[in-house]
């Protein structure tokens, strides 16, 4: 399995595409993009990025068609995959599966028709199906945050607000625990906040009631962090030094840029991985160069210094 530094790969792909449009005019390609519908902030950003990139690429390549098809549930997505390949089959499929195990079969059937398969973020249960796998690095997501806590606090008590009980969440938490192991940073309490702003508010209120002293909060998600901040502000507690979220929400990155003391950093898990995946897939088709393997997007600590790189004022996320 090959690991690439995806930033470079994406730039390379974009360079191939945008720098040499003449080559592509010779061929007509169709790419189908299947992803969950915008049911929360992160998937909203995902869909926004996919549509942006589709328009950009179609403009650059008159012979290229990108069909973006959001689905509202796993079953819906399975049907959508059948529909997308029922008539004229696309040359490639970029898919972010709703659920790994439920959609493995559906993607395998698409693969059987000779379609190039790019899987994004949530892996299939059978990795042999995918030609290309583009994902964020979840354990690293936790580690980056954990390292920041160790470095910033040295010693201290933190509370952790987890997401929805999933593999993604477990990997992140494990990464965090690994990073703080042996340090003076201790986890005081952990609860699920379901990647929701309202839950973040509630759970934080309860943490504040339960623990007289908390040094910092790892919310693992920017939506949750927003809710937690409101609860802290309401309780007028001065013991909490900072809250770290994650995923790179527009408002949060803006805050990091502006030097928000309560949320000084963010951890990237950008929905733009969809962009990268589409770019790489197009690169594979157009350049006839084999772009295969696994590409993990490096997870980056967004600080005041580099925040502007991650800021898109138009993103809905």
């Amino acid at each position: 399995m090959r690991h690439g530094v995806i930033g470079a790969a994406a730039a390379l792909a974009a360079g191939i595409l945008l720098g040499a449009p003449a080559r592509a005019q010779s061929g007509h390609y169709t790419i189908a993009v299947s992803l969950p519908t915008a049911d929360h902030g992160w998937t909203g950003g995902l869909l926004y990025d996919a549509k942006q990139e589709a328009a950009l690429l179609e403009h650059a390549y008159p012979g290229l068609t990108v069909i973006v098809k959001p689905s509202a549930s796993a079953a819906d997505q399975a049907s959508a995959l059948e529909d997308l390949t029922a008539g004229t089959k696309p040359d490639a499929l970029v898919v972010l599966p709703y659920d790994s195990s439920q959609l493995t079969g559906a993607v395998r059937r698409v693969k059987a028709k000779g379609v190039f398969i790019t899987v994004v973020d949530r892996g299939l249960t059978d990795p042999a199906i995918q030609d290309l796998y583009v994902a964020g690095d979840n354990p690293e997501f936790g580690r980056v945050a954990g390292k920041y806590f160790v470095q910033k606090l040295g010693h201290g008590d933190v509370v952790v607000m987890r997401g929805i009980p999933t593999v993604v969440d477990s990997q992140r938490v494990a990464g965090f625990q690994q990073a703080i192991a042996g340090s003076g940073v201790k986890i005081l309490d952990m609860q699920f906040a379901n990647w929701s702003r309202d839950e973040g508010f509630k759970v934080m209120q309860d943490f504040l009631a339960k623990h007289a002293h908390i040094d910092a909060v790892w919310a693992a998600d920017d939506d949750v962090a927003q809710g937690a901040l409101r609860a802290i502000a309401q309780a007028k507690r001065s013991d909490i030094r900072f809250v770290v979220g994650g995923a790179g929400m527009r408002e949060v990155i803006k805050g990091v840029m502006d030097g928000n003391a309560m949320m000084p950093v963010d951890v990237s898990y950008p929905p733009s991985m969809m962009k990268t995946a589409i770019d790489l897939t197009v690169a594979h088709l157009v350049s006839k160069a084999a772009v295969r393997g696994t590409f993990l997007l490096s997870t980056v600590l967004i600080t005041k210094d580099n925040a502007s790189e991650y800021y898109d004022p138009n993103s809905p996320f």
Binding site: T37, A38, D39, H40, G41, T43, G44, G45, L47, Y48, R162, P165, M190, Q191, F192, S196, R197, D198, F201, K202, V203, Q205, D206, F207, A209, K210, D223, Q226, G227, R230, Q234, A235, R250, E251, S315, P316, F317
Partner: protein, 329 residues
């Protein structure tokens, strides 16, 4: 027999089942305190009671709908939808002054809620469809419209001055009572009078008890039933007015599963899911029970975070069993 004598001759019997939700609440408070003394801290109690206000207010409306033998599954997504609409229209009118923006937001929330309820009610009564199916459909419609309005992201009140202006609606207090608590207490009082002391309330219960009897008694069934959904919509509007100031924003996940929580609060409160009776104060107690259970779960260290849902479910079932055993035969 004189009226006074007649009244004296009819002592008000208190149905023990109507006390069950309050007993359950008392037990929870006791258990919560034993598990962690901080449960009784004034701040924590204020947090819990204030957080319960959304479900309490929506539950008050749901008590009408369910007492009349109906059901409204759309309340959670309706709240997100009218919350999103209110935010967009407030933001748009902020140029005419913050007061205008505030008024627009409030009107949109309550008026929009009533209209959404009217739509549900009319489809159910005029279209002669099952409430379950109609409101399941409108639940999906409202949720999708919210996602569309937010483009998958979140909708926030702007400018910040507007956020600061509305914040006291959730965080403020009058004479030591948080504003949302005052709102649901007041609303509860009004709702109790409407349900128990007006001809309309009596017809609501009659329809839920036996729609045929009401029809044979010349009760205007369609109008009464539709009105219960309008009341429900208005309550959702009020709950939304309390909800938006908390985080100053609405996301596509706002109000998720509120319909189930509201129905659970109503049932814990002693209202039969089949209709024919309605207990406003019981519903409010039910909402407090739900919120307390969640709070106690986090405050205590007894249960793994993975199992909290199971314990909550079990507590609700036990509460219902106790209530059933208290029911007068």
């Amino acid at each position: 027999m004189s009226n006074a004598a007649a009244r004296a001759a009819r002592p008000r019997r208190i149905d023990p089942a109507s006390l069950a939700p309050f007993a359950a609440l008392a037990v929870l408070v006791l258990v919560g305190t034993l598990l962690n003394a901080r449960f009784l801290a004034p701040d924590n109690i204020a947090n819990v009671v204030t957080r319960a206000s959304f479900i309490a207010v929506i539950g008050i409306g749901a008590t009408f709908v369910i007492a009349a033998g109906g059901l409204d599954l759309s309340v959670g997504s309706m709240s997100a939808f009218i919350g999103g609409s209110a935010i967009l229209l407030s933001n748009a009118s902020a140029g005419h002054g913050l007061g205008t923006a505030l008024a627009v937001g409030g009107l949109v929330a309550i008026g929009g809620g009533a209209l959404c309820g009217l739509a549900n009610g009319l489809v159910i009564t005029v279209g002669r469809l099952e409430a379950f199916i109609v409101t399941l459909g409108s639940m999906g419609i409202f949720r999708a419209l919210t996602t569309y309005l937010a483009q998958g992201g979140s909708l926030s009140l702007t400018p910040d001055a507007l956020q600061d202006l509305v914040r006291p609606v959730y965080f403020g207090s009058v004479l030591g009572m948080p504003v949302p608590v005052l709102v649901f207490a007041l609303l509860g009082g009004v709702a109790w009078v409407v349900l128990n002391r007006t001809p309309f309330g009596r017809h609501v219960v009659a329809i839920g008890a036996n729609e045929e009897v009401a029809r044979y008694s010349s009760v205007a069934i369609g109008r009464v039933r539709t009105l219960t959904y309008v009341i429900q919509g208005g309550c959702v509007g009020i709950a939304t007015i309390l909800y938006v100031p908390r985080l100053s924003s609405v996301t596509p996940t706002s109000g998720l599963l509120w319909e189930l929580q509201a129905i659970t609060a109503v049932v814990i409160g002693g209202t039969s899911l089949r209709g024919g009776n309605g207990r406003i104060w019981g519903t409010i107690a039910g909402a407090l029970v739900l919120e307390s259970v969640a709070n106690i779960m986090v405050l205590s260290n007894l249960v793994s975070e993975y199992l909290i849902g199971a314990v909550q479910g079990a507590i609700i079932i036990v509460a219902m069993l106790v209530q059933r055993s208290l029911r007068r035969n």
